[in-house]
């Protein structure tokens, strides 16, 4: 009997965790219901900050969903066995986060019940409309990819399927970046650096999510991660973090150089209150410097440090998106260059935004959906990485 009790305890713990995830999802759905009933008046969003906290959550999840597939691409496309063993888990995480992010995005619509209109009336010049195809295609491609990996008879197709996913997620993250690149008049956006920046950022965030889930699975199953694999994956994550920081730095340095953009950069980096704070403390310090220290300093780098580093990278990611999306809208549009402006509609004024509880609950609900899909997926199907001994 005594042998059974830890197993029983684990079983109960599993159901408790799933129930907790389900509760968060329910609270998120309730928040969406309230938003639909009362209107967006119960959120912090307004006519100046039109996209708020739900979009930060949704875009984080969608970017990470694309980035986590890097693990499978390195396995399938570049033939690294250590990563190949992890490809199914990466695929599951991708589907889970994509589902969570899209649910948030959909439920934040002013008229979520009309979502079908997005399929029946399609505007080909809209990048949002393109993304509807890219996101649904991504689901399909990853499901096919998972099938080819898990079904023995389909194994030969797993490489082409992996290649399709590899290409598709590049286009998908480009599409997500282009949502902002195509905004001609907003000083924070309207630049072609955003899609490649989003792609590189996705590698770092996806890897961070993967590390946390992988470590949790190994701890749960009392398994130890092969040290060589751990080192490889940890260093790769560090490299992605540095590359992402490079893109973010280039974006801001280019802006600083343009006289017409310096006011905006001063706002985001120096004078804008919560935005510079989140940028420097949230993104640069917590999201980059501390994780890099934990990854590369000789006295750290063990599993515990890597998990903490991954969590910090995710926190940094949320900070960066908050600054980019909400800070980018808070800075007033330059409608009359050369003039000081004022009006009853916020012309020339910094937009005010305070995220409200319902919209945060909606965002967390999306994270809950991702958690549930992952937790149930791992339980019912074979997603746990099986180590191939002596990885080259």
């Amino acid at each position: 009997m005594s042998n059974h009790s830890p197993l029983q305890f684990k079983n109960r713990l599993y159901y408790a965790l799933v129930a907790a995830g389900g509760l968060i999802v329910l609270i998120g759905l309730y928040a969406a219901h309230m938003m639909e009933q009362h209107g967006h008046i119960i959120t912090g969003m307004n006519n100046q900050i039109v996209w708020g906290a739900p979009h930060v959550f949704a875009i984080f999840l969608i970017i990470a969903a694309s980035g986590v597939l890097n693990v499978s691409s390195i396995g399938s496309v570049f033939n690294k066995p250590a990563y190949k063993a992890r490809a199914p888990l990466a695929g599951l995480l991708s589907i889970a986060m994509l589902a969570g992010g899209l649910t948030v995005l959909m439920l934040d619509l002013g008229r979520p019940e009309r979502i079908i209109v997005a399929a029946t009336n399609y505007n080909i010049t809209s990048v949002f409309a393109w993304n509807i195809l890219l996101y649904s295609g991504m689901f399909a491609a990853v499901v096919v990819y998972l099938w080819t990996m898990m079904e023995q008879r389909m194994k030969t197709w797993s490489k082409p399927a992996g290649f399709l996913v590899f290409i598709w997620r590049f286009i998908l993250t480009t599409g997500t970046g282009v949502i902002f690149s195509f905004l001609v008049a907003r000083q924070a956006f309207g630049t072609a650096i955003l899609p490649p920046m989003f792609i590189v950022i996705s590698f770092a965030w996806g890897m961070a999510v993967f590390h946390i889930v992988q470590s949790s699975i190994y701890t749960w199953n009392n398994k130890n991660l092969d040290e060589y694999v751990q080192k490889r994956m940890r260093n790769l994550m560090g490299l992605f973090v540095i590359a992402a920081l490079y893109f973010v730095a280039t974006y801001h340095l280019t802006n600083i150089y343009f006289a017409k953009q310096t006011e905006f950069e001063r706002f985001i980096l120096v004078s804008g209150g919560v935005y510079p704070l989140l940028f420097w403390a949230g993104y640069v310090l917590v999201g980059n410097l501390l994780p890099l220290l934990l990854i590369f300093h000789p006295s750290f780098g063990k599993t515990g440090s890597v998990i903490v580093a991954s969590m910090l990278i995710i926190l940094g990611g949320f900070s960066l998106l908050y600054v980019l999306i909400i800070g980018g809208q808070a800075f007033p549009l330059s409608i009359f260059p050369g003039f000081e402006t004022s009006s009853s509609f916020g012309d020339g004024a910094i937009g005010l935004y305070q995220p409200s509880i319902p919209e945060i609950m909606l965002g967390l609900g999306g994270v809950g959906i991702s958690f549930l899909i992952t937790a149930i997926g791992i339980r019912v199907l074979d997603f746990v990485p099986r180590e191939i001994p002596k990885s080259p």
Binding site: E36, H38, G39, H40, I41, N46, N47, Q48, V50, W51, L109, G110, R111, P112, R114, I115, V117, A118, N121, Y122, N123, T125, S126, V127, F128, A129, I132, I179, F182, L183, V184, A185, R186, Q329, L333, I335, F336, P337, G338, F339, E340, T341, S342, S343, S344, F345, G346, D347, G351, L352
Partner: protein, 238 residues
Amino acid sequence: MSDINVQRRQFLKTSVGAAAVAIAPGILLFDMAHGKTEAVTSKVRWGMLIDTANCADGCNDCVNACNKENGLSGGLSQTDSQWIRKVDLKDMRTGRELSLPMMCQHCENPPCVDVCPTGASFGRADGIVLVDKHLCIGCRYCMMACPYKARSFVHEPLHDQKADVPRGKGTVESCTMCVHRVDKGQQPACAEACPNKSILFGNLNDPDSEISKKIRTIASVQIRADLGLNTGIRYQGL
């Protein structure tokens, strides 16, 4: 003639009469609902010329007229709709001050129409940019894309709407150039209400219209002309 035949004729007559009485109002309503049958044409491009020199600082008559015409609350909170607003400007180098009305600029190449996923944002052939309230899913991408901050999102349930001006909670809206008035041959409410006649409304495509003659002879500008959107609203004295 037998009694049965007479009765049958009587019955048929009554039935036809009853059917006519039942259908007639429907046909009339159908005609009323469809309004004018001829299509909007691109031979017309509706536009406005706003004379900022005549626009009085502190005067809000155009804004009030718009609110009244379109059934807007007139509230000024960050979540209230404002289809037209007065903007006070001060030249940062010379200190020159002016005031002007700002609304949807009814671009020929509107960014809101480009980005709208469902085609709810659309430009009519006569240059008026509108939102189809039945297609709008409330994603607010058009508000992100508009360079003029012209659009508002309906944040709360609405009451007492105007029959001619459909609006809806959870959808985006903006100046319609009073399309319901223009289609009846009237002027937009703001143009009619301006005490100084600072808003000149007319057909930019008709070389003999007052607005076309005026923009040929005086200097007028489009706001953010650098974006190449070719706005239907022009400003004089900016």
